[in-house]
Symmetry: C2
Subunit: 524 residues, 2 copies
């Protein structure tokens, strides 16, 4: 049952008078549930509860946090069809995607549960005392990672489950011992409330303190701004546009106590197609890339928005094939009329620039809120000179850049803004001849892919989802994978602390049997 | 031989017309060498060389980087008496301190050399492919840490060697593969140039690219500002005042591409003295703390500037003993007349606040630039209500706060600004009765010390030197110890990349024999 209310800790609350609804883009109509925007008092109450909960939650054992995370996963599964249906009604995304994303969300929660149940993630490091060292005795010093405090997570429009209410940011923060306040995404507030209810149930069942989680409704930017400015909030997670992420980063930087903001933002994910690959496999590559560009109506942050090659007959044929292939794909629904409007505006903006050649642009009749896929092409020189062409067009759109030669290609790669991914399409050994281009690409991205597509972000320990600005606000962290927990923790040292008062992770006899570094040696 | 010039890469350069000298505070006179401030062109040239050097330096093997770092240590030792004498002439610090700090600097360089020679620090993580996985095949993904790019390091006034030219920030950045541009501290520009010459010699001897290191003279703030604003600079290290660190953080946050600034700033390092310890050991504690407060003329970032206890006869006696003990210590020289002036002003500012009781203030005749130690005391209520009393008084000064009761003590601890350290002085089991106070203290500091003094920062892997703002700008990192390398690196993933083109750290057969996590299992 969706109430339209906020969760202030474990209490449903709707004292405000600003309301909004979600939208069904497939049917092109408002959904019926009315959501009440959180008031300033409700926000303050959520933060106060969160600070209070932190005092207890930060000391909760890994085993109990694991039980909490697993219980969230279980409760999400219990929501069953209601969750899947709500997801589809609020996003226009198909049921298969909803189920896939739910599986990913569950998988993330369980992988963090395993991480904290095992316990070695705290990087326990012990340097034992040397009381007789000359000229100065050495103290006993022991270090481990501890949570920062209340974390605010902004739900993402394009991942209602995996990067929203109980998504990667939330799972990582809860695993670390940080309470979470979610600023629910207004486009899927119902999905958000359902997942929030699962988290609250799980918190109650596993005895977590009230305030460990809150979910705040918001249709504007003021709720998020108040949260990020609140002195008791200690970190922020965000997935969305460059404009949105940057404004939060700026807000956090202006605080009396600046706090870390990890924002995963825009990316056009450059793909370099090397000459022999183009010559030998242009049709196959075109087909693969048409699919990747249109996947999920192009609404992935890893969507390949920029394809680069050196001018040749093969490249010209590739552009034709790609344009042909993408026109064969049936248009699909976008998340919301506003997303569709943004897509149209940005596409038109790019197309209206000088010397842009439009090689595909779907024009047949389509349903409301469906997206017309398009491919454009431009010379390397024009691309280099016009930063408007570097902007992300969020949707089923890609630009092919025809470079004069390899030098120009390298120059473009070197000067491009930071990106989540870079891809190289190569015939077997061809890539080894382009080491400077590869080095330049590596310097601009967080992940480099060989003969694949950037869409499809595997959730695993070795994944980096992040990259130089503006792909993310801090390239030193990843938003995906268990190491993303490091965004929400800090190292902490105990000096000469009594053994029985140390946390178990640092006690002499290693009661948790975790991997630790003791006097430089790593062992269990 | 000190030239007074800048090192723009390996070239000495002094094209500017603004000059300055260093100052001998012991003799109260200017030193003779004239230093030429770097010009805007020289700054740009240093950054350009640095960016170019990064292309090569980022690929240099751990073994070769280790040789470079060890060569720096060797060259610093070769400077011998000239370095020690210059250090003393520019700081007023005694020879023993100079030699101790040199040993620390050498130790840091060699520990980073060992770290990168061994190689496991890159956190290599491999998830192998599962081509037959359902519903989607899994790619081969491999991750490791890579350097960010050119790093700007600001020399610290109070650590001319260990936190300046070849200090912790520089050693960590070079170890990671980042070129370094040092903004030399004007108070010890000669010491800085000597150490810079050692780095340049080491770079040449070990075949590092020109531009891997530059050293820029500056007597104002504009050189640092231009460096931090330069688009090719990718991170900043700073040790100094809150005002200085915050202004750099703000500048970096306003860039088109914001960059990480790790600033280690002010701290008053609260010390909680529990009742039984006060009762049983007040004289001993007073003696120990008088020494710690006056150590190095109080010019350590871990100086204990705030002592807290609950009102009692024992606390009153402690204040008397501490005041008595500190007056027995011979005053010593401060680093520079400006530092002395700052000490006088800040001390007067505190003393002039309402309800401050001055229990010690050295008034006998002393030499120019020597510091008059002082102890003041105040009630918990007054301390809580007056934020001016929370400011750091850089020098041999400390404030005793007499709290009404334990509740007030906890309230003060909870509300205090972020600190590098917190200390608890306790009789054996007494501490276990104060778990809430300890928890509150832990939440405000980076390191907690039992029955010791905060001065004396051990350089080891388990050390955290950093803490919640304003102790540092990002509590997620430490400025001391080998893990401080993480400030200058980012994770990077390779997906399905050909084995022979992967860096050695990630190749199938583990040619460097480093610890790696492969499919979740850690091994060599």
């Amino acid at each position: 049952m969706i109430t339209g209310k906020n969760y202030i800790g474990n209490q449903l609350s709707a004292i405000g008078n600003k309301t909004y609804t979600t939208f069904n883009p497939e049917l092109n109509e408002e959904n019926t549930t009315v959501f009440t925007k959180a008031t300033s008092d409700e926000i303050n109450e959520a933060v106060a509860l969160s600070s209070e909960a932190f005092k207890e939650f930060r000391k909760v054992s890994g085993e109990r946090k694991a039980a909490f995370l697993n219980a969230i996963a279980d409760e999400i599964l219990t929501l069953d069809d209601l969750l899947i249906q709500t997801y589809c009604l609020e996003t226009g995304l198909p049921e298969g995607r909803a189920k896939g994303e739910r599986a990913r969300t569950i998988g993330q929660l369980r992988s963090f549960a395993n991480l904290v149940a095992e316990g070695s993630w705290v990087e326990a490091t012990i340097d034992t005392a040397q009381p007789n060292r000359e000229p100065m005795p050495k103290s006993d010093i022991r270090k481990m990672l501890i949570p920062l405090g209340p974390v605010v997570v902004f739900g993402a429009s394009n991942f209602p489950l995996a990067y929203s209410t109980a998504g990667g940011d939330t799972a990582a923060a809860l695993a670390s011992g940080c309470p979470v306040i979610v600023k629910s995404h207004p486009m899927h507030a119902g999905t958000g409330e359902l997942v929030a209810s699962a988290i609250i149930k799980a918190a109650e069942k596993t005895g977590m303190p009230n305030g460990v989680f809150s979910n705040l409704n918001s249709s504007g930017i003021d709720v998020g701004q108040q949260l990020v400015s609140h002195p008791n909030v200690k970190a922020v997670g965000f997935t969305g546009s460059i404009k949105g992420g940057r404004s939060l980063l700026d807000l956090a930087a202006k605080r009396e106590e600046p706090i870390p903001v990890f924002a995963e933002m825009g990316s056009i994910n450059p793909v370099v197609i090397l000459p022999k690959a183009l010559e030998n496999r242009q049709k196959e590559i075109a087909k693969t890339y048409a699919s990747s560009i249109a996947l999920g109506t192009g609404q992935f942050c890893t969507n390949p928005g920029l394809l680069l090659g050196v001018k040749s007959d093969s490249l010209s044929s590739f552009i034709k094939s790609l344009s042909h292939e993408i026109m064969k794909i049936n248009p699909s629904c976008m998340l919301h009329p506003n997303i569709k409007k943004g897509y149209i505006n940005n596409k038109e903006k790019v197309i209206s620039q000088a010397n842009i050649s439009v090689t595909a642009n779907y024009t047949s009749e389509i349903k409301n809120n469906y997206a017309e896929q398009a491919i454009v092409s431009v010379t390397g020189k024009d691309f280099l000179e016009n930063p408007t062409l570097h902007l992300e067009v969020f949707g089923p759109f890609s630009m092919v850049v025809q470079c004069e030669n390899e030098v120009e290609l390298e120059s473009i790669i070197s000067k491009i803004e930071g990106q989540l991914t870079g891809t190289v399409i190569s015939d077997d050994n061809e890539v080894s001849e382009y080491s400077e281009i590869i080095a330049a690409l590596q310097n601009r991205v967080g992940r480099i892919i060989f003969n694949g597509v950037p869409t499809g972000v595997e959730v695993c320990e070795s994944m980096v989802h992040g990259g130089p600005y503006p792909a993310s606000t801090d390239s030193r962290f990843s938003a995906v994978g268990i190491t993303s927990i490091k965004r929400w923790v800090r190292p902490f040292s105990y000096q000469d602390w009594p053994n029985n008062l140390l946390p178990k992770e640092l006690q002499d006899d290693n009661p948790l049997s975790i991997f630790r570094i003791k006097d430089g040696i790593r062992s269990k």
